[in-house]
Symmetry: C2
Subunit: 272 residues, 2 copies
């Protein structure tokens, strides 16, 4: 038994949003074991500084290493945009973010070379999507738009409320009024508003959810390095950890995930 | 020179909301020196657990003690409701919260014995306003209502936006439809929505902002213990500390405070 093959994948996010990425990894790589960590004591990340997001990410990676993970997915656009470069240099373990896969999907999808990005304040301020897309294809125009109220709207269960439509209009009008043909949901919470955003933006715009491409990148990485779990033993197990309020996390997670989550454990992440 | 008299008052909050309390202390006690701490790395508190809020409060009080404060004001309803009892027992320094002063003001204000409280999820779940008000007067009926989107609306500058009116209606309709004659703004962010809430609730309802009574309680405490700064030396100085993103804090603070704040410093609160 190759211990590397059965080792779990570490997946982390500022809170519950990254479950949309975990869900996609489970769908595409059902044999892999997953350790998920949600930093619910310090959520949200989108309004915080790069220094703090790097420090939070370092602590989480050290925690995930105590679980002998074989690779780590930063399932948070803000941490991917602001901390990935730093932690890739610091840690001797493969670490993937969601920004590069999302950017590549948009580059492949756009026909007219005009791409929109909706993200948190911190992600948009970093201009990381623009930098990465234009490295892949300098001809592409990228318009980024911060939508800071989307996360609290999702977390407070306002998905179906009338004001959500108005706040979508408030933030996305300037993107809708451009000629973009492709739009990246650049925050892991936003796929939970996908149908409302789809209705608002219209059928002509392609909506990119980086979760799908991230799971594909992870599969390629595991196969290239001979680390994929072949399903012969100890597979498909998910463990969930948070830094606060496990019960509230379970409740939300059970509305997103394809199975029930009961035994989320709380750890003190600042000790790592 | 009595060193206790010139020692500063420590004031803390999860972020910028507590500045509405600091502003009131400055107005009523202009001679006092103030050390303000905003926990911007972990804001908001209102959606987090009691365990975390107690741990955060302990760390902040240990930090404030390094500044030789003579008394501490917890300028955050959530921390006052969930952590005050614990930290008062643990620390050998006078600590005031905002819930008791706010409750007392409402008890004095109500004529028909029906009081409403708007607060964060955590504050309302604790039912601390109800417990304290009914200890003061068991005849009073208290109706508490959690309004979790008010904090992000204020922080994202939506005070004047149309959706704010609708979200106020969504949360406060059930309070408006009762016979309350008094309403407590049970979160330090909410005074920043005061005029909108006032318009919505109507002129007949008395709105209580606990900041005013808290500053009065602080004055009484300092006078009783002979610790009030008489203004003869080293007075009226405010220092600001945050756990993240000092610049963003300054920007917000300058719209709330009666003077410009330039030199906010960032500290790593989890090390305390």
């Amino acid at each position: 038994m190759d211990r590397r093959k059965i080792a779990p994948i570490g997946v982390f996010d500022s809170g519950v949003g990254g479950l949309t990425v975990a869900r996609e990894i489970i769908r595409q790589l059902p044999n892999e074991n997953i350790i998920y960590f949600g930093d619910t004591a310090r959520v949200p990340y989108g309004s915080k500084s790069q220094d703090s997001i790097i420090r939070f990410s370092e602590q989480i990676i050290r925690f995930l290493q105590t679980k002998q993970v074989k690779a780590i997915v930063i399932a948070c656009n803000t941490a991917s945009a602001l901390a990935l470069d730093t932690v890739q240099k610091e840690f001797d373990i493969p670490i993937l973010g969601v920004v590069v896969p999302g950017a590549r999907a948009a580059v492949e999808a756009t026909v007219n070379g005009k791409v929109g990005v909706a993200g948190t304040d911190a992600t948009v301020r970093s201009q990381m999507y623009t930098k990465i897309i234009q490295k892949m294809n300098p001809e592409i125009t990228v318009i980024e738009k911060a939508c800071p109220l989307f996360v609290p709207l999702v977390e407070e269960g306002f998905k179906e409320h009338q004001v959500t439509r108005e706040i979508i209009d408030y933030y996305l009008k300037s993107l809708k009024d451009t000629e973009i043909d492709t739009m990246i949901l650049g925050c892991t919470h936003y796929p939970l508003l996908r149908s409302k955003i789809r209705t608002y933006m219209g059928e002509k715009i392609q909506i990119v959810n980086p979760a799908y491409e991230t799971a594909m990148d992870l599969r390629d990485l595991l196969e290239m390095q001979g680390m994929a779990n072949d399903g012969s033993a100890a597979n498909g197990v998910c463990e969930f950890y948070v830094s606060d309020a496990a019960e509230k996390f379970n409740e939300f997670a059970n509305s997103v995930m394809p199975f029930d989550i009961m035994s989320t454990r709380v750890i003190q992440i600042e000790n790592y």
